[in-house]
Structure formats: C-alpha cells, structure tokens
C-alpha cells in the first residue's frame, strides 16, 4: 500500500503527551516538517521553555536546551552567538514570551538577533492549571480570574507579534492559527519563511500561533476551535505583520 503520511524525521518516536484536542502537536509537526524540508535537523538547536511547550525537547529530533521560565530567547541568543552557523529556535508559550520573559522578546527583536521564535498562544497558563495570562481575553474566566478577566485591573491582552513587529530588528513577524486545514497550511508557510529568514541571516523572526487549551478552557476540542475563531482571532491581529523587502525577495 502506498504510504501517504509519515511522521516527520524532525520528530522523535516519543508519543505526544498533550491533552486531547490541544494544538501543540499540530504546531510541532509543522515545525518538524519545515526542519526536514529545509534539511536542517542536524544543524538546529531548539530551546524549550517552562510550561506545556517545554515538552518539545523530547519530541523534536534535533538538539535541545531546556531554559528557565521566560529565558528561552536569552539562552538561544547565547547559543547562536557562540555558533552563528547553526539554526536556533525557541518554542515558547504565551506565558513564557509575553509575561515572565517579555524583555527578552523585545530586545531580541530590537537587536535583530538571528534566531527564530515560535510563540504558541492559548491565552492561558496551561501547565500550572489554567491561570490568567497577559494574553487572556477580556471577561475570560480562569482560575485566577474566576469572575472573568477585568481588564481595568489586570490589563488588556498583549498582542506580542504586533509589539515586536514595530521594532526594526524584527524582519519577519506573522500571526497565524491552526484551527482549520487552510490556516494550518498558512501557518506552515509562515514557519518555513521564519526559518529561511534565519538561514539567510536577515534578522529576528517570530511566528505566533493561536492555539487551544480545551482542558483549561473547559471545552470540547471542537468547541475550543470555534471559541478560538470567534474570540481570539478578532482580538489578535492576524496575518503577516512584518515582511521586510529582503524577506520578500527570499
């Protein structure tokens, strides 16, 4: 029988341990496929954070460094500065990159660090059990905002890609989603472009992916996808937010 689908060589044979309906698995597969297609698996160093995204170190087949919470980009920059010819990417949740590690994201972009950051935004702290994140939406119920997120006291959702896109050192910034086959295909294109940007040494690249957390959202996987489409996509600016001329001509 003809084999129509196989696990990417960018992934190990360790089974994903994510909750049912979580979209981390899709995103990791897309990255793995990109690493394989660009033939850079053996030249890549991934940086895993703390949080659900931290499991990435076991699932990708490239070398990995585990960072402290929020520090993935600083760690990645250290590795990249030491080995400029290698490909370095960080795989981070929204808590990691938009809460405790915001300063590193901003300055990585400001300095045009030649690394790629993948941000998985599910608007909540997943690993610790569903606490409010800076990316949580107005009125959103979480275990630390049980009456709904009150933006007047806890802040408005941070749109990290938009923020980063304003900085000259960030040359490619995209905000995509993995809620439908069409969007998944677009997401993969964005991820591939971000890695190509790094291969060409053009500057900092960031791809943010809207993701679901059915467990902590207390929804079924299909309701989660619907909720993402109806609630998150209107709040977060979607699409390619920054493509410099050099990136355009890649």
């Amino acid at each position: 029988m003809e084999k129509v689908f196989a696990r990417s060589k960018g992934l190990t044979d360790v089974p994903f341990s994510f909750c049912p309906g979580c979209t981390h698995g899709i995103i990791m597969r897309l990255i793995a496929e990109v690493l394989e297609e660009l033939d850079i698996i053996e030249d890549t160093i991934g940086i895993s954070p703390v949080g659900c995204a931290g499991f990435s170190q076991d699932f990708f087949s490239c070398d990995f460094i585990g960072a402290a919470h929020g520090r993935a980009q600083a760690v990645g920059i250290g590795a990249k500065r030491a080995l400029p010819d290698k490909i370095v990417f960080t795989y981070q949740g929204d808590g990691d990159i938009a809460a405790i590690g915001t300063q590193h994201a901003i300055h990585a972009a400001a300095r045009g660090e030649k690394i790629t950051s993948i941000m998985v935004n599910n608007a909540i702290f997943g690993m610790t059990g569903g606490q409010m994140a800076p990316t949580s939406l107005e009125g959103m119920k979480t275990v630390t905002s049980p009456y709904g997120k009150d933006v007047s006291t806890t802040g408005y959702p941070i749109d990290m890609p938009t923020l980063v896109a304003n900085l000259p050192g960030a040359v490619y910034v995209a905000s995509v989603s993995v809620d439908s086959p069409k969007n998944i295909a677009q997401a993969k294109k964005a991820i591939k472009k971000a890695f190509k940007v790094q291969q060409a040494g053009l500057g900092f690249s960031l791809v943010s992916l809207l993701s679901t957390c059915p467990t902590n959202w207390n929804m079924s996987p299909s309701d989660s996808l619907k909720w993402l489409r109806e609630n998150m996509m209107p709040v977060y600016k979607m699409g390619e937010l920054k493509v410099t001329e050099e990136v355009e001509s890649l």
Partner: protein
C-alpha cells in the same frame, strides 16, 4: 613577561581574553563596569563576542546558552546584579555548565553603596539561588591574583563542569596595581562529549534540568552531592602567613586578607605570635588549613567586611575548640592594619605582655 599597570577590573578582562574565553555577556553596574568596558574595547579584535544584554537575567541566561555549546564564557556584575543572576546560576549548576561569573562585591543590602564589602560571602558559598548547589568561589586579594585566578577559574569550570565565581570587591576592582601578564598555562583537554552543537553524526542531546519524578530528583541530587564532595576533597586552596608558630591566628580573605598581613608583621615586631590563614577558595572552604592548628592555637579572629559570615565556617573548621572572634567593618569601610591589631590585643589581653 610583560609587567603592566591596570585596574583590577581590566585585569580580569585581559585574563579572560588570554584564557580562551570567547563570549562575554554583561550589564553595566558600578563598581564592576570596567570589565565590560575593557572587553568592549579589546575583545572583538581578539575574536571575542561582547554583548551588553537587556538585563542581568538576560546576560546570565546567554552565558547558559553559550556554555551549552562548549564555548568559554564569562559574565561580570556587582552584588545587586548577581542577585538577579541567581536563578540562571542555579540552572547552570544543575545542567553542569562551565562558566566564569565575576562578582565585584559592593555593600548592601538593597541598593547599598559602592564601597568594598564581603557581604555576599553566604550568597557565594552556600549556593546563592534556589536548590541545593555549590559554585566554586575564588577570592583574589591582589592584582596578580585577579589575573591568575581568572585563568584558573576557566580551567576549574571546565574540569568540574561547574560555574566558578570570582569574588572580588570594589576596592580590588578600581585600584591599579602592577600585574605580570603571564602566558596561559597549557590547559588540559576537557571532555566535551556533552555539548549541544547540532546532532550531525550522533544521537540528539538535551541539556535540561527537569526531574520528572521524585525518584529521578533524588538520584540527581545524589549525583550532584557526590560531585561537590569530590571538589571539597581536592580543590581547597589557602595561604598561610606566619602561621606555623602562631599562638593566635587571623582568618581573612580578599582585600582584608592582605590588610591582615600588615597586621601580622606589626604584631611580630611587638613580639606577638600572630599568624594568618587566608582562604583562597571560599567554596570549597579550606577546612584542611585548620587541622594543624585547631589543637594548638589559643584563639582566632576572622576579619570580614560583613556582620560575620565566614566566621561560621571557621568555627566549624576548628570544631569550636577555641574562641573565634569577629572584627568587621561594613558599609564600604576598610579596617586599617592597626585597628585590627588593637582588637586582637584587646580580645586576648595582649597589650601589656606585647609591649617589649
């Protein structure tokens, strides 16, 4: 060999370059700033990378990332900055990453002042951050030692796969003193089979420190404990000064260590048999230095720039077999050699018999 006059902080920078250090990540803070200034001016033409990070946390985590690739890397800061780095140092100790961290100790707590202090002794020698780890800590007391110990620090870090801290202070950092720029002793080859640099031709590697279960956690702690015990056994360093026939001993390191040498010489002129033990490694604390003296010396005085931190290790080392007193100055003040001698004479009732 070249004998030059340089500021202590600059000497550290020069020694790092000559030690094969390849990357420096830092953030400016008085009184350590000349380290990053010197390297910014001189490191690039030696093929090194200097990056002024967004903050101390960024800097230490960049060291972490660079060290994972097997490169020699250093950072430098002063007390409040070192506090900020502690999380990263803890992670580096857990992942067993060689790196050199310089603390040009200023006084505290809080913002404190810029004067020399030894108030970070506990922080340096007892772990400093969370979790149960140790950092090899070297305490230079002269310009030459700043140079020599920086070189040694890189080798110790590689040898034991552990962060090494150089505990200097604002006085040593800012003062100019002649230093001989010795050639680097040939470093042995160190095992680098653990580094992460792309998995070409081998299995993928992960450098991380999460203990998934308590059983794994305990196994890891036992592993680190064994390593630390080994370092305690083999790496203690100290200097003895007129100690052999001493009836009383001063114990002091760094800037006060050298002040105490003058105190000892003055005491000897007065017929007081005073000596000095000057710890060079603060962790591992050189308790072996005290073995020949703990049953024969009448008393000891630790001289420190804090409220009495090293004195705890001295009391343990002599098993409290004799009185151990503390003479200290704080807040950036340094004691004079005579102040210390007056204290010793007073504490041990030596003034009369001492007057020849």
């Amino acid at each position: 060999m070249e004998r030059v006059l340089m500021k202590g902080n600059e000497i550290i920078g020069e020694a790092a370059i000559r030690s094969g250090c390849k990357l420096f990540f830092g953030y400016p803070i008085t009184p350590s700033t000349e380290v990053i200034e010197y390297l910014s001016a001189n490191f690039p033409r030696a093929g090194g990378t200097v990056l002024q990070a967004e903050d101390e946390i960024g800097a230490i985590n960049m060291c972490y990332g660079a060290s994972c690739t097997g490169a020699r890397v250093m950072t430098a800061s002063s007390s409040p900055g070192i506090s900020l780095k502690q999380e990263g140092i803890s992670y580096s100790a857990a992942v067993e990453l060689p790196m050199v961290i310089v603390n040009v100790n200023r006084c505290g707590p809080g913002l404190g002042g810029l004067g020399p202090a030894q108030s970070d002794y506990f922080q340096s020698t007892k772990g400093g951050g969370h979790g149960d780890y140790r950092v090899i800590t070297l305490a230079p007391s002269t310009a030459q030692e700043l140079y020599d110990f920086t070189m040694q620090a890189f080798d110790l870090a590689d040898k034991h796969r552990n962060p090494v801290l150089i505990l200097s202070d604002g006085f040593l950092g800012q003062t100019m003193e002649p230093v001989v720029l010795k050639e680097r002793p040939k470093a042995p080859e160190y095992d680098k089979s653990w580094i992460v640099n792309g998995s070409k031709g081998r299995e993928k590697r992960i450098l991380a420190s999460y203990s998934l279960t308590n059983e794994i956690g305990e196994k890891n702690n036992l592993y680190w404990e064994k390593k630390y015990n080994g370092i305690q056994e083999t790496e203690q360093q100290w200097e003895e000064f007129y100690a052999e026939d001493a009836e009383y001993l001063l114990v002091s390191y760094g800037t006060t260590g050298r002040i105490c040498k003058s105190t000892v010489l003055n005491a000897r002129k007065k017929g007081i048999k005073l000596g000095l033990i000057r710890p060079i490694t603060l962790w591992p604390f050189p308790d072996k230095a005290f073995i020949p003296y703990k049953d024969k010396v009448k008393g000891m005085v630790t001289v420190e720039l804090n409220t009495g931190q090293m004195i705890e290790d001295v009391k343990l080392a002599v098993e409290c077999k004799m009185p151990v007193h503390l003479y200290r100055r704080q807040g950036g003040m340094l004691p004079t050699e005579n102040e210390i001698l007056n204290y010793v004479e007073d504490k041990f009732g030596l003034s009369k018999e001492g007057e020849a």
